[in-house]
């Protein structure tokens, strides 16, 4: 743990397998504080799995994974790795925002309640303070006045923006986006990307799994091309996306662009 305080996420040889199939075959990456990293790659390449390892929704099998200088899911004491208990892991997770492909808004709660429940139940913020913060965030994602709506009454783009607000309400130091626009109608993609662009501009550290190459080119500080469980190529998006060196990335880009 000699990392500088500037590194938010660091992965060293992260491996993960499901029922004998190795999905991650040693992923290395480092994301600095305030940086936006985009993970691109064909489906099944392990992008989402890697993202889920970062907030311990999946347990990685081998390698080191550090968030803000702390091992994810484990604690190093006296040369031994101690598995953290549920409560500690949840406390870590609370500070890592996650936005899902399928929004996953709490269907039985209103927009406002979706954003306050984490503050009230996990961060123990007072109800009225949580509500004020939620309204503020709704305004930020362009949904002021939708407090009382249920998720089912909103469009996909609106739901995803509420989901972003829900994650932001936890005051995250890191935001993970798992294909946030893949389940949206094409005309709704823009409004979600706009919110993410603003977020990036405000200095939030973000890791985004995406198929939106335009967004990656414009917003990402670094783009990582993941293929068959390893990072095949990475670097400045303008460079990597314009002049891919590996044949696999060339092949991938020729399909998506």
């Amino acid at each position: 743990m000699t990392e500088t305080a500037d590194t938010m996420v660091e992965a060293i040889g992260v491996r993960k397998h499901f029922a004998g199939v190795e999905v991650l075959k040693g992923v290395d990456l480092a994301v600095a504080r305030g940086e936006v990293a985009c993970l691109i790659g064909p489906s099944g390449s392990g992008k989402s799995t890697f993202l889920r390892c970062i907030n311990h929704l999946e347990k990685h099998d081998a390698g080191e994974l550090l968030v803000d200088g702390q091992l994810v899911g484990y604690e190093l004491r006296n040369g031994r790795l101690y598995e953290r208990n549920d409560k500690q892991i949840c406390a870590e997770r609370a500070r890592i925002g996650m936005v899902f492909q399928r929004f996953n808004l709490f269907q039985h709660l209103t927009v406002l309640e979706n954003i306050t429940i984490g503050q009230v139940r996990v961060l123990r913020v007072r109800e009225d303070a949580a509500r004020a913060r939620a309204r503020e965030l709704l305004e930020r994602v362009g949904l002021a006045g939708r407090d009382g709506y249920y998720p089912a009454q909103l469009s996909g783009g609106q739901q995803q923006r509420v989901a972003i607000a829900r994650a932001l309400a936890m005051d995250p130091k890191l935001m993970l986006f798992d294909e946030p626009t893949s389940a949206l109608d094409p005309e709704l993609v823009g409004e979600v990307l706009d919110v993410m662009r603003d977020l990036a501009r405000s200095g939030m550290t973000m890791i985004v799994v995406t198929h939106e190459m335009g967004f990656a080119r414009e917003v990402a500080s670094t783009v990582y091309f993941l293929d068959a469980g390893i990072i095949e190529e990475s670097g400045d998006p303008r460079e990597v996306l314009a002049h891919p060196t590996s044949p696999r990335l060339q092949n991938f880009l020729s399909k998506v662009l």
């Binding site: 929704l57 709490f106 269907q107 039985h108 249920y150 998720p151 829900r166 994650a167 936890m170």
Partner: protein
């Protein structure tokens, strides 16, 4: 093309011939039932009275279903007391069943084999033996365990010891038997409910830092309720009637009270009807409660909640009225 006065094309609705035949048949059956319910039988006696110099006689009849006796007993204190016991049994047994069922369902879904295995075994046993047998076993439990004591298992240390028969009355035995049996059924209902909640909901809750217990309480349970409530309502209604089995072990609930009365006066049918009517009344009340409960837990699941019966009645009435052109304003007002 023929057109109406205002230029629009006239629509001729499809004639549902089969439906009309069905309606006619149903009406005949309804008429038969009403007729027999209201029919009277001759008692074999005649009543005569003098009119002028002649005597006019006619046969005395009585209700086939002895409605006068049915309603006479409807509000007697024995029957009402029995009804109270029935309600008490239903509430306690269902409360035990629901709590137990939830615990068993959560256990059953636990990744730990011992927990899920014991929950499975419980359900297997209590669902696999007749509830009447279970009632009889609990009623006679003092044969197996004449004394019950509070202490540390396996160490023969006991703080408190009592005779089973003194603390375990038939009513308590019935509550335990019905409650434990219900737990097995409720666990399956609760499990279906928990499984019906999308995994993404759990992931989202986890991602904002909720621990398993919070996720269950604030995210999964409220949504599972939508699936759990309707069959649970069914179970409550079923329990209301199953509680009549407790009369077998000497609990004087609604049916027990009715049988007690008819064993003394032989008015078997009227008293069975009295009890049945009470069961129907309570069932009706429960069904209404269930409707509103379902509506409450469906919030967020549907874009527009289903109308309440009152709203639907108003809507139907508005629909009928709108068939009369000059009443359109009235229909509009009702619709609003």
């Amino acid at each position: 093309m023929s057109t109406d006065g205002d230029g629009s094309i006239k629509v001729v609705p499809v004639r549902h011939v089969g439906r009309w035949i069905g309606v006619a048949a149903a009406l005949v059956v309804v008429a038969l039932i009403v007729h027999t319910l209201l029919s009277r039988l001759p008692t074999g006696q005649r009543a005569c009275r003098g009119v002028g110099t002649s005597r006019v006689c006619h046969a005395i009849t009585e209700w086939r279903f002895s409605w006068d006796i049915v309603f006479h007993y409807f509000t007697t204190s024995e029957i009402l007391h029995g009804l109270l016991i029935t309600l008490e049994l239903t509430v306690i047994a269902m409360a035990v069943g629901i709590v137990l069922g939830m615990i068993l369902a959560v256990m059953r879904l636990s990744p730990n084999r011992v927990l899920s295995g014991s929950a499975w075994t419980y359900t297997w046993f209590f669902r696999g033996t007749p509830v009447l047998v279970q009632l009889l076993v609990w009623f006679n439990i003092s044969i197996l365990y004449p004394r019950i004591s509070l202490g540390i298992p396996f160490l023969h240390v006991s703080f408190l010891a009592l005779h089973t028969s003194t603390v375990f009355t038939p009513l308590e035995a019935a509550c335990v038997a019905l409650g434990l049996n219900e737990g097995a059924y409720m666990s399956e209902i609760a499990r279906a409910g928990l499984l019906s909640v999308d995994e993404g909901q759990v992931e989202a809750a986890t991602s904002i830092g909720m621990v398993r217990r919070q996720t269950l309480r604030y995210v999964v349970m409220p949504q599972a309720m939508r699936v759990i409530i309707p069959p649970t309502g069914n179970e409550v209604i079923s329990m209301l009637k199953t509680s009549s089995l407790a009369s077998v072990i000497g609990v004087i609930e609604l049916l027990g009270a009715a049988t007690n009365i008819y064993s003394a006066n032989y008015e078997i049918m009227p008293l069975l009807l009295t009890a049945s009517l009470w069961y129907l009344v309570v069932t009706t009340v429960l069904s209404i409660g269930q409707f509103y409960l379902e509506r409450y837990f469906a919030r967020g699941a549907l874009r527009t909640p289903p109308p309440t019966p009152l709203q639907r009645m108003r809507h139907d009435l508005a629909g009928v009225l709108s068939k009369f052109p000059n009443r359109r304003s009235v229909a509009g007002a009702l619709e609003r």
